[in-house]
């Protein structure tokens, strides 16, 4: 069976600067994939290019068999790709519930509001307060929760644990596990290595704008030396 997302020889530019130099990767249905790499190697750019926010791009992005090259940004979600940006993107002029209800439902199979409130009870408690009055952890939950409503097939997360307390990180890990049980496909960029090793099925290692390694979680112990070298940790 063809993978849900297939990226081949993807190049991307920010104005003059060439950031992605031929990224190749696949994400199978139901997999949780983590992209590792140092700062500035193009991890966030990879995600933003796949979503279609960065339009100066070449190469192939095939999602559920469809070529995404000419799909306008506002149609990406309707094809089944949901995005949680690094800065979370909670709107300050919208209440928590308005934030939650903002992304249009694009397909059946998303969570209902009740299910979401069950998974994130805090959000229900604070549903009428402005979105940015939530704590950082709650904002991250909200950013994930609002995509879960929409019924997308692939959830793209950019550093979901950045700057959060360990207890919240653990909570996000549980949420991702729950999603996996429901069959959600997840692609995330993560700096928190321990967190990543708990949730991911497979890793991509990125350096200088391309993927330099690709291995399942089972091979992780044998790759530690190389990871130390490339990640500099």
């Amino acid at each position: 069976m063809a993978p849900l997302l297939q990226v081949s020889n993807l190049n991307a530019w920010y104005g003059e600067s060439h950031v992605l130099h031929g990224v190749d990767m696949t994400v199978g249905e139901g997999e949780t994939i983590t992209i590792l790499g140092r700062n500035g190697v193009g991890k966030t750019t990879t995600l933003r290019t796949i979503v279609g926010i960065i339009r100066e791009r070449k190469g192939e992005i095939r999602f559920a068999g469809k070529d995404m090259a000419n799909v306008p940004l506002h149609k990406t979600a309707h094809n089944g790709i949901g995005f949680v940006p690094e800065e979370r993107g909670i709107f300050s002029t919208l209440t928590v519930e308005e934030n939650l209800m903002l992304p249009p439902v694009v397909a059946e199979g998303g969570m209902s509001l009740e299910e979401i409130y069950e998974l994130f009870p805090n959000l229900q408690e604070r549903r009428s307060s402005p979105g940015t009055k939530l704590s950082g952890g709650e904002q991250q939950m909200l950013a994930i929760a609002r995509i879960l409503r929409t019924g997308v097939k692939l959830l793209i997360l950019d550093e979901p644990t950045e700057g959060l307390a360990p207890v919240i990180v653990q909570r996000i890990g549980e949420v991702l596990k729950t999603l996996k049980e429901r069959g959600m496909t997840v692609l995330l960029v993560e700096q928190n290595f321990r967190f990543a090793s708990r949730v991911a099925d497979r890793f991509y290692l990125m350096d200088h704008g391309r993927m330099v390694a690709n291995f399942p979680v089972a091979e992780l112990p044998g790759k530690m030396d190389m990871l130390h070298k490339v990640l500099g940790v």
């Binding site: 979503v51 279609g52 926010i53 940004l73 506002h74 149609k75 990406t76 979600a77 309707h78 995005f83 940006p85 993107g89 709107f91 300050s92 002029t93 919208l94 308005e98 209800m101 903002l102 992304p103 249009p104 694009v106 929409t150």
Partner: protein
Amino acid sequence: MTMIFGIPLQAFLGQLLIGLINGSFYALLSLGLAVIFGLLRVINFAHGAQYMLGAFAAMLMLEYFGINYWVALILGPIVVGLFGAVIERTMLSRLYNLDPLYGLLFTFGLALAIEGTFRYLYGAAGQPYSVPAQLAGGTNLGFMFLPIYRGWVVVVSLVACIGTWLLIEKTKLGAYLRAATENPVLVQAFGVNVPVLLTLTYGLGAALAAFAGVLAAPIYQVSPLMGSNIIIVVFAVVVVGGMGSIMGAILTGYMLGIAEGLTKVFYPEASNIVIFVIMAIVLLLRPAGLFGRDA
């Protein structure tokens, strides 16, 4: 005769009413400016011209098609709104990635072109548009005589202002607008067609201006110059209120209208500059404006 601050009560209330009416127009227009600016980051200089188009639409519809005031009140804004949407789609949308001043200059040119065209076609002199029969006449409130049409204008523009506020603060469409004001790219990545949203917003703003224009037609003369006269005052209103808040724009509009009316009672010579003076004072004391959140 009852006196208030040494002024006959009658004159005082009369000017208060005029102030309230002017304030209604300021509120409607600055509201539209704020809505457009919030999302498009464009100061719509053509707002005055669109207001004038509304008044002309009412007059011309009556003259050529016998369309009455009530229908014009709906149809006029729709026509002008569509015109605005076409302008946004074909031209204004090309300027979004540039300095906001280009949007100002473009809409300034648009205003000149529209105004010039109507001057060319209909002359600079004002033309009357009569008050609809249902709202003709007036009523004696005991302490003053209230022309019914003027009362109607105050009420209906208040309703329009509150309606717009509710639309933006309380509806799904409003949530899209507010979210797109903060982060258009993300809203688009969520699957909302933001370019269409922008077109809608500009059309809505233009329609609001035209609505004010239709309301104004029976009160002021319908003239090609009516727009540019009012838009500069509305700019001052917007500087005073700041464009960060819809409610702020509405309140400032009414406040300054009333301030202008009262100045006519106490010091008539200054009545057409009082709003500018207030603007200067506000700039000294609160440079960001009374309700300003933006720099």
